[in-house]
């Protein structure tokens, strides 16, 4: 896998949503935009499976001194660990760094019972911001998204209008949404429609 490492993947290329029109549809009364959608193009994503003995390698390469608890994320600088299941995590890293991080983790976890999979292009990440963010998501998601329940630093794998998504609460009014690349266009279209009444924008 290391031989396919390509630092040049930072270069502009097709992403899941590169064909979508950049547009802002503000509310007619007051011109508000309650939800701003941005694609986190080429954001590095590595699926990591293993028990507690993966921690030294994870700490070395992400700076995270603990594996996240259930439904939690740990963020150090540009790198984020997302809890997915009791022995499964998603590592987010800088665009273009994923191949290098993947081979480093493979090397350092060589003797540990673990699995490291580069899923950067299998998944699409969106940044969602705005006052109406939680109201829009609640239209298609059964999760309790109240800011007192789904607080900053929490994550959940759930269903958004039939599509499997991972939601990460970055702050009260900012989420990262991760879905399969093949579902990205659908999720984008659904969000643009569901967000229309609050004002919505897609900035590419």
């Amino acid at each position: 896998m290391a031989s396919t490492a390509n630092k040049g993947s930072r270069a502009p290329g097709r992403t899941a949503l590169s064909g979508k029109t950049k547009q802002t549809i503000a509310t007619p009364d007051g011109g508000r935009v309650g939800l701003a959608i941005t694609e986190l193009s080429h954001l590095g994503k590595i699926n990591l499976r293993g028990g507690d003995d993966i921690l030294p390698a994870v700490k070395k390469h992400t700076g995270c001194s603990n594996l996240p608890e259930n439904n939690r994320t740990v963020q150090i600088g540009e790198r984020t660990l997302i809890w997915l299941a009791p022995d499964e995590f998603l590592v987010l890293c800088e665009a273009g760094e994923e191949a290098g991080l993947h081979s480093q983790l493979m090397l350092d976890l060589g003797k540990v019972h673990a699995a490291v999979t580069n899923v950067t292009d299998a998944l699409c990440a969106l940044s969602l911001r705005g006052q109406a963010l939680r109201k829009v998501l609640a239209k298609g998601c059964a999760l309790d998204l109240h800011p007192s329940v789904f607080t900053a630093g929490m994550c959940a794998q759930t269903i958004l209008s039939h599509a499997a998504v991972t939601l990460v609460a970055v702050s009260d009014d900012q989420f990262t949404l991760i879905c399969r690349t093949s579902f990205a266009a659908y999720v984008h279209d659904w969000l643009m429609d569901a967000g229309l009444e609050y004002g919505v924008s897609f900035k590419g």
């Binding site: 299941a85 999760l143 794998q157 269903i159």
Partner: protein, 123 residues
């Protein structure tokens, strides 16, 4: 719609889960010692009780992990959620487990590694 408490993720909507049917069906070890009718109990026959039922469920859209559930099929009350490989601890769950017709089948007896049940089947 049920609100199911995943042992790992917490309370989630039923649509995130898939039901895996009846729990506690052990594969017979010495299947060649069973008659076709006895093996059919393991392979084909499934319970469909009115009342307490022990089921396997999977959090398909979340952590994708299996677990067991003791659920009343009339009231939809979820009495207990317990890990795979365990038997229920609640009174109603224990009773449902003990009272199941499956406990008396030759297929279940042959699923236990004890030599007693095997030699019995072999005879």
């Amino acid at each position: 719609m049920l609100l199911i408490t995943c042992p790992h993720c917490g309370p989630r909507e039923e649509s995130e889960f898939s039901c895996g049917g009846e729990a506690h069906i052990a594969r017979p070890l010495a299947e060649n010692n069973l008659t076709d009718a006895e093996f059919a109990d393991y392979l084909f026959l499934r319970d469909n009780p009115k009342g307490m039922f022990l089921e396997r469920w999977r959090h398909a859209a979340g952590c994708r992990r299996w677990f067991n559930m003791a659920r009343d099929t009339v009231t939809h009350e979820i009495v207990e959620i317990y890990p795979m490989g365990n038997t229920p601890k609640s009174k109603a769950g224990k009773a449902a487990h003990a009272d199941s017709w499956r406990r008396d089948t030759a297929a279940e007896a042959a699923a236990k590694p004890a030599s007693k049940s095997r030699s019995k089947q072999g005879g």
